[in-house]
Symmetry: C2
Subunit: 356 residues, 2 copies
DNA sequence: AACCATGATGGAATCGTTTCCATGGAGAAG
DNA sequence: CTTCTCCATGGAAACGATTCCATCATGGTT
């Protein structure tokens, strides 16, 4: 339990002032002669500047926060790995929180990060914009990933319209809404849900499917909107069902869907937890995939190949998304960073067949 | 971007000294009268003490570090969720690092945590005891989970014997080795690998299997030792193969095993990544599970049920292990905490059949 | 020769908290 | 009434870094 050398120790041992040591170590100006000596002494004392002192002085903690709903959702695990990879190569710490998809826990974690003076945050948001207001007000650099926070409810605001609006924004087709009082859009890293869903729906259509269901979870607003758009015409509302995020509720939703609508012939699962539930529920009800029902799952995960038949999926680059998000939040020391939309890919395996 | 109120602001507004404010907020003694006023003012100013100042003063960062090899390994994701759950309920931050199973990266991350003055660390170690020496020397409270760091190589030290030794320790059957110069054992949270493997091997034996292979990964020393012990007699060394931790190498190991020893009738996979590889390799080689080969996988993960047939697994309570580890590292503010060994459970599904 | 610009250097202030210590007042015991 | 004790209280010193600013030396210019 030896105590670490401080900058003062180095200064004394090198016969210089602490200011000089600090400058040498952080790349300020110094004569080659002193620089060399300071460096030598620092190495010899095994000196490592304490982040504590620095953080206090600069009134900010280095590194970044990372908030995801659930690490056991493989997509978020991949995403987190991407963030960690970038942070590691930058030598920055990552403070992780898992929200369980609960806005309240999310708010608490934001509070905790504020207390820690973590001023950079990557988040897969669960709460709405009100939840995020404190973070933004405190001047945090926030990068959202995978989804955007919902708008808080207000009577002149229609959630469905809002989601469609987000889609339009992605395409640059529409100007931002009359954002007079709304906070400026924060940078984000999203997958191209619209194209992904559209491709999947078209693929199923091409196989002859007409009654296609969507199995969604929290935060899948944009995906549902894209689904509605891709299906076109009035969507059969019974074919759009939601789970709350837990595996149990996903299973219940899937099972309920299959039972209430035996006439459906294809399902698009909005995420891998939903996909898992769909496979399980189908098996439980003796529905054969893809003979009785075709299945496309959002997210490519290692176990998609293990199923039999292996699952046809809409792959989004989880790891890349994480890496990009971390880059954004680090680099954007300047100002507003541009948002990023990454492409998805339909990977055809064996869980979709022709409509019978 | 408002700036936060400091303790000084509160002191002035309440007409008391900063020391008093600090005492009130951290539960020291104060007259009810002032306590009330300070609390009121603090609430009104929305004051939250900055962790920065406190950390510097106490020369330590709160919270804990968490080092795992790979979050996309579902077991580690479950484990991390457990740690996060405990940390969240304690209001403590968690600094996460993913080592990729690489001792070098692990060492770097330890260095980073040291720099941050994080003095509590939960780790699934990849490096050996030498890798961990700096952390211990610096006085960190370290809790290992899932496995223990390997002993560094020395000629009078036999790794196999060491692993067996660890097993004995678990049972409390043997006194610790002559640890004269060895650091004292650190607290840890482990699953009862020995019993788990033993149960699985006996189960396979009971089904008539005689040529049982073990498919291991890094850090599975204790599991291999348990396997050897459970199989008894001289083990056919060709039936014990290892991957390096990546999915590719796991697949290669599994595939190689199946090809080189078509006579084997059962496989115990030492972890879920290995199990995944085994399923994939078996399918690729047209081996039917469980007709041609029976499979037991260490780790219960949601997708084990999705396989067809669903996988028979040795479940270890990943989430609980994480929660317990976090409790240990937090509560053991005192001194050496006792290690914990949690039970495993053989969950019989459909991947094992009688030997033909 | 006097002066100025430049660059290296160290002292000291600062960040926000906790904690040590001295002070002062009130109540109890003599 | 005096003295002793105890407790609430506030001032000030840490903690370890960064950074402002004044100082000093050096070398070039007029």
């Amino acid at each position: 339990m030896e105590k670490r050398a401080t900058i003062k120790d180095v200064a004394e041992a090198a016969g210089v002032g602490v200011a000089t040591v600090s400058r040498v170590l952080s790349g300020g100006s110094a004569s080659p002669r002193t620089r060399e000596r300071v460096l030598a002494v620092a190495a010899q004392l095994d000196y490592r500047p304490s982040a504590l002192g620095r953080n206090l002085r600069q009134r900010r903690t280095g590194g970044m926060g990372l908030l995801v709903p659930d690490l056991t959702d493989t997509f978020y695990a991949q995403f987190a790995e991407g963030v960690l990879a970038c942070a590691r190569s930058a030598g920055e710490p990552v403070v992780l929180g898992s929200t369980g998809g609960d806005p309240e826990q999310e708010a608490e974690l934001i509070g905790m990060l504020l207390e820690q003076s973590v001023d950079r945050l990557i988040a897969v948001p669960s709460g709405d914009e009100d939840t995020w207001a404190p973070a933004v007000r405190a001047g945090m650099t926030v990068v959202f990933a995978d989804r955007l926070p919902a708008r808080p409810f207000s009577e002149d605001d229609d959630p469905a319209a809002a989601a469609v609006n987000d889609l339009m924004l992605l395409d640059g087709l529409a100007a931002p809404p009359p954002a007079a009082h709304r906070p400026p859009e924060l940078p984000s890293v999203l997958a191209d849900d619209r194209a992904g869903i559209r491709t999947a729906v078209r693929y199923l259509r091409g196989l002859g499917h007409r009654r296609i269901a969507f199995l969604g979870g929290p935060g899948h607003d944009r995906r549902v909107a894209a689904f509605r758009e891709a299906v076109g015409a009035p969507v059969d509302e019974e074919l759009v069902v939601f789970g709350t995020g837990s595996r149990d509720s996903a299973y219940a939703a899937a099972s309920g869907l299959f039972q209430s609508r035996p006439d459906l012939s294809a399902v698009v699962a909005g995420g891998n937890v939903l996909g898992e539930a769909a496979v399980l529920a189908a098996r439980e009800l003796d529905l054969r995939v893809p003979r009785d029902v075709s299945l496309v799952m959002y997210d490519d995960v290692p176990w998609a190949e293990l199923c039999s038949p292996p699952l046809t999926v809409i792959a989004q680059p989880g790891r890349d998304m994480g890496y990009r998000a971390a880059e954004l939040v680090l680099r954007s020391g300047g100002r507003r960073a541009r948002s990023v939309v990454l492409p998805t890919e339909l990977i055809i395996r064996g869980s979709c067949g022709p409509h019978r």
